[in-house]
């Protein structure tokens, strides 16, 4: 790669696929005929696939490819069975490697990770003992599309195991051999998940045990899931590192010797062992990084810094996902949007210069004329045609009322058929289209596009599934399947005759954003928006920007927070596009996506802002405890108070002889069953700093477990090497803190020693929980939910972490969940990136499938207003129908909840009208 930010030139090698993706219709005939079986990497080599293959049934693109390394033709020069049987002539053995040169403005690296291969580890005998599998193999074993259709079978004898053990930290938190010193961040939770799902699949008598060092459930709602696994699902958690796995003769069973917490050696027999393997960067990716001149960390991840979490060392090259550091799906998704935001800011001047716009085709106003229905019946290769008599169904369709045109196609979804449909619509002046084929879930949008390209409204289309719901399930009764296909087509035609074109409401988008909260994430969001030319109103209730970061000393990487924060505040305050409103709160919010109207209140003064989107970045705060003599003895401080001492160069710290840190103060307790995520790392970095300024101090970290995820684990190792003592306690054996004369004493039972340890402390730092503000008013304003703990609930825990289900409202920072600065900042940028997908449009179109009210029948009972989760129904205020309900089509999601709840039958859903549904039922 050459060039500079904004203008790179990248050399790409495109390997041949040997299948023309334009022609391949994914019928599978090639793979059926292919004589060569190959290990199926997608299924972790547990089963075979063919040399011509799709990765998995839902693959995108759903197009076959030839595995050149295993294809008989490429090995021996003959075979070509796939070519012979391909009905669409898609096979191309002459396909060649291509060298592409791409000119791009920015690069985002998201190469991911590979699972650690434990084959080289003598401890686990993986590869030698068949019933020792990796967690990735177990994922496939659990999967309905896996080797045993989701039935758990152990490899040696295909028996259903009765006892399964998981071993944690395989290849992670281990500095031996090829293993890695870092924590892989995700294995604890996936092991818990696998155990829970395994028990669900196998029924009650499956015993699951997880052997672990520290359970790291530091993500949102993870601790609750872990607690449920223990308490509700009966999964056993055993804190022990298993040194070896021994086979029991040739039974396939396995013995796990281990030392329990009391220090005794135990042995337990299992049917199967799952190795919770960690993540690592592949040598290929490390080589790519070298070629691109990008710095890597000790653990071979892309080096970034806390205040630029997705910037690589090379300007214009951004990074996200597991290559940035081990992480789970939500954090990968957050960083992905964050990296997109960075690229968007860099290339803002060139927005829309290279995108292509589809030619808009004017819609013919024919929808309300007498129906002229066209019916297209699909063979789907042999998928339908092999069972159902498709020509008979076609001929039958021709006899139905209003049907003006019928045909059958080998593949109705193929590109050439789209051209045919489009032509026929025009030639025969068709105004309703029925396709009898596969599932609308995957193919409806394609056919709707075809309708639009022929000048029809996209809603005068009906699809009926004669494959998944007919030919696939009635393979053995082709005559009956044909009759059923006729029934389905008759129903679809009856509905189609009653369809009419639907309008999609269009909304103008106001280009201003309101960001609520002026901490790190709110500022990052504001900068990511202003950097792309959007105006921002940044609302902060305090008198200064900065939020909780104002109280923090250093990051875990050792960066000075105040210095970086000051630079960030300055850049926000001096930004002409950002209107900073300090001492300000939200008084009233009206409107919806694209057109919010928010009243801001500042020192008794009100002013109204019109804006298109809202980002909530309201943060969280430090919990003030009532235990451990906090507030009663000046030697007892919270972490933020300790950071303040560090920042003030408190001389008293130099005379501390013994310092004690107590973890999980207010976190992971019954009243607050979540992990505050940052405290373990913060305690260790603080302990190390204290050790640095006062090398003689004895330091004790009393913890329930240490959760230094990712490369933070190095700090934990460093701390132990520096002589910092870690003592474990449990919820039942919490430390006791008391004053004895002038002394502050801490007493904690040490399970490893078997007796209590007493420490005379000069400093006691409490890792208190991070608690949300639980701002009910804000939640009500934007119709956004909060979870039991008081954190806002995102649209989707995995795939929509930085947005709400309510359109146009986004989420970032600690209002989402406790998190360190780098993650808060990345999420601020992510929320901005998600918001820009709306702001960059001139108009937003909403679906035409919305509810509507017949006011003449409405009894004004208000049930619809109550049940709607999106506040779409309301009462008409003025005019002849005042008091009756109406639906705002912009807010309506077409879920139909109000329609089914309406007692008067006043509500109907467009596209699913009662008349249409009844017409279908009448035809059965």
């Amino acid at each position: 790669m050459s060039g500079k930010p904004g203008n790179f030139s990248a050399e790409i090698l495109k390997r041949p696929r040997f299948v023309d993706v334009e022609k391949c219709i994914a019928c599978g005939a090639c793979a059926e005929k292919c004589p060569k079986k190959v290990d199926d990497a997608y299924n972790q080599n547990l089963i075979k696939r063919k040399a011509i293959y799709v990765e998995y049934p839902q693959a995108v693109p759903l197009k076959y490819a030839i595995d050149k390394d295993h294809c008989i033709f490429f090995e021996k020069g003959k075979c070509r069975a796939c070519e012979k049987f391909c009905p669409s002539k898609a096979i191309n053995f002459d396909d060649k490697e291509e060298h592409l040169n791409l000119k791009v403005g920015a690069v985002i690296l998201a190469p991911g990770f590979r699972a650690y291969n434990p084959a080289g580890d003598d401890t686990f005998k993986y590869g030698r003992l068949p019933n020792v599998v990796t967690s990735m193999e177990f994922e496939r074993i659990l999967s309905a599309t896996g080797p045993s259709q989701g039935h758990i079978r152990r490899p040696s004898d295909q028996k259903s195991p009765k006892k399964i053990a998981w071993l944690q930290c395989v290849g992670s938190r281990d500095v031996h051999r090829a293993a890695h010193g870092y924590c892989s961040s995700v294995c604890c939770m996936y092991a818990v998940k696998e155990a829970v799902i395994a028990k669900e699949h196998a029924g009650g008598d499956l015993d699951c045990a997880i052997f672990y060092m520290d359970m790291r459930s530091h993500g949102k709602d993870f601790e609750r899931y872990y607690n449920d696994a223990k308490e509700k699902h009966g999964i056993r958690f055993i804190r022990s590192r298993v040194p070896t796995i021994e086979p029991v003769d040739d039974t396939g069973d396995l013995i796990l010797p281990h030392v329990n917490e009391a220090g005794e050696v135990e042995e337990e027999r299992f049917d199967m062992v799952v190795l919770s393997v960690g993540m690592e960067t592949t040598p290929e990716v490390a080589r790519l990084a070298r070629n691109l001149d990008i710095d890597l960390t000790e653990g071979r991840f892309c080096r970034t810094d806390t205040f630029h979490p997705v910037r690589s060392s090379r300007p214009g090259v951004f990074v996200c996902g597991a290559f940035q550091g081990t992480k789970d799906i939500p954090q990968s998704v957050i960083e992905a949007s964050s990296a997109a935001a960075e690229a968007e800011v860099l290339l803002s001047a060139a927005r829309n210069t290279e995108t292509r716009r589809k030619k808009e085709i004017l819609e013919r106003r024919e929808g309300n004329k007498t129906p002229r229905i066209g019916v297209f019946v699909c063979h789907c290769g042999i998928n339908i045609g092999g069972v159902v008599d498709v020509p008979a169904v076609r001929d039958y369709a021709a006899t139905l009322p209003f049907v003006e045109f019928v045909t059958d196609n080998l593949f109705t979804c193929s590109t050439d058929t789209q051209d045919t449909i489009s032509r026929v619509i025009r030639e025969k002046a068709l105004n309703r289209i029925v396709v009898a084929a596969c599932t609308p879930k995957t193919h409806e949008p394609l056919f709707q596009e075809t309708l639009v390209s022929a000048g029809l409204n996209r809603y005068v289309f009906e699809m009926t599934n004669i494959r998944n719901q007919d030919s696939w399930v009635h393979k053995d009764a082709p005559d009956k399947a044909t009759e059923k296909a006729k029934d389905l087509v008759r129903m679809a035609v009856a509905k189609a005759a009653l369809m009419s074109p639907l309008e999609e409401a269009e909304v103008d988008v106001n280009r201003r954003a309101v960001v609520v909260g002026g901490g790190v994430s709110g500022m990052a969001a504001s900068k990511a928006l202003s950097g792309q030319g959007y105006q921002v109103t940044l609302v902060e209730r305090e008198a200064t920007l900065g939020g909780q970061a104002l109280n923090l000393f250093r990051t875990w990487r050792g960066e000075d927070i105040q210095e970086n924060l000051a630079a960030m505040v300055k850049s926000v305050e001096s930004d002409p596009l950002i209107d900073v409103c300090l001492n300000t709160e939200l008084g009233q919010v009206e409107g919806f996506v694209g057109n919010f109207k928010t009243t801001l209140t500042c020192k008794g003064q009100e002013h109204v802002v019109d804006h298109g989107v809202t980002i909530l970045a309201t943060g969280a705060k430090e919990f003030k405890p009532e235990e451990y003599l906090y507030g009663k003895d000046p030697r007892v401080v919270t972490h933020l108070e300790l950071d303040r001492k560090f920042m003030n160069h408190d001389q008293g710290l130099k005379s501390v002889k013994a310092a004690v840190f107590i973890q999980c103060v207010g976190s992971r307790e019954p009243q607050r069953p979540y992990c505050s995520r940052v405290c373990c790392t913060h305690a260790i970095e603080s302990a190390l700093y204290l050790k640095k300024i006062n090398p003689d101090a004895e330091i004790f970290v009393l913890n329930r477990e240490i959760r230094t995820y990712g490369e933070r684990e190095y700090l934990y190792r460093e701390a132990r090497l520096a002589g910092i003592v870690f003592i474990r306690f449990s919820l039942e054996t919490k430390p006791k803190v008391f004053v004895d004369g002038a002394d502050l004493k801490v007493e904690v039972p040490d399970a490893a020693l078997g007796h209590s340890v007493g420490i005379k402390a000069d400093l006691l730092a409490l890792a208190t929980a991070i608690v949300p503000y639980k701002d009910e008013k804000l939640a009500r304003f934007f119709k956004v939910p909060m979870n039991e703990d008081g954190f806002f609930v995102e649209a989707h825990a995995k795939l929509g972490p930085s947005e709400f289900a309510s359109d146009g409202v986004f989420l970032c920072g600690m209002a989402h969940y406790p998190k360190p600065i780098d993650e808060a900042l990345a999420q601020g940028q992510a929320a901005a990136s998600r918001a820009v997908t709306l702001l960059s449009r001139e108009k937003i179109r909403v679906s035409g499938t919305v509810a509507y009210v017949n006011p003449a029948v409405c009894s004004s009972c208000g049930v619809c207003v109550e049940v709607c989760p999106y506040s779409a129904p309301s009462f008409i205020e003025k005019g002849p129908f005042s008091g009756k309900a109406e639906i705002n089509p912009v807010l309506c999601k077409g879920c139909g909840l109000c329609v089914s709840s309406c007692r008067s039958g006043a509500l109907n859903l467009k596209g699913f009208e009662e008349g249409q549904i009844m017409a279908m039922i009448n035809e059965v």
Binding site: G6, E55, K103, L142, I197, L288, I329, N352, T353, V836
Partner: protein, 59 residues
């Protein structure tokens, strides 16, 4: 300025992170080249059975 700056982005990797980046960029007015080593996008997440805490199908 725009004659010096390209309106396109190269995203290397078609897993969950690469796909999300590509979607955000494309939906915001940038042309995206999404590179993937294998014959389909989806990455490691496509191999997972379910995701917690909702136990949704990963696919």
């Amino acid at each position: 300025m725009s004659e010096h700056v390209k309106g396109s982005v190269l995203v290397v990797g078609g897993g969950i992170a690469g796909m999300q980046s590509a979607l955000d960029l494309a939906d915001s007015g940038y042309y995206v080249y999404l590179l993937e080593q294998s014959s389909a996008i989806g990455g490691a997440m496509a191999q997972l059975d379910k995701t917690f805490p909702t136990n949704d199908c990963a696919m």
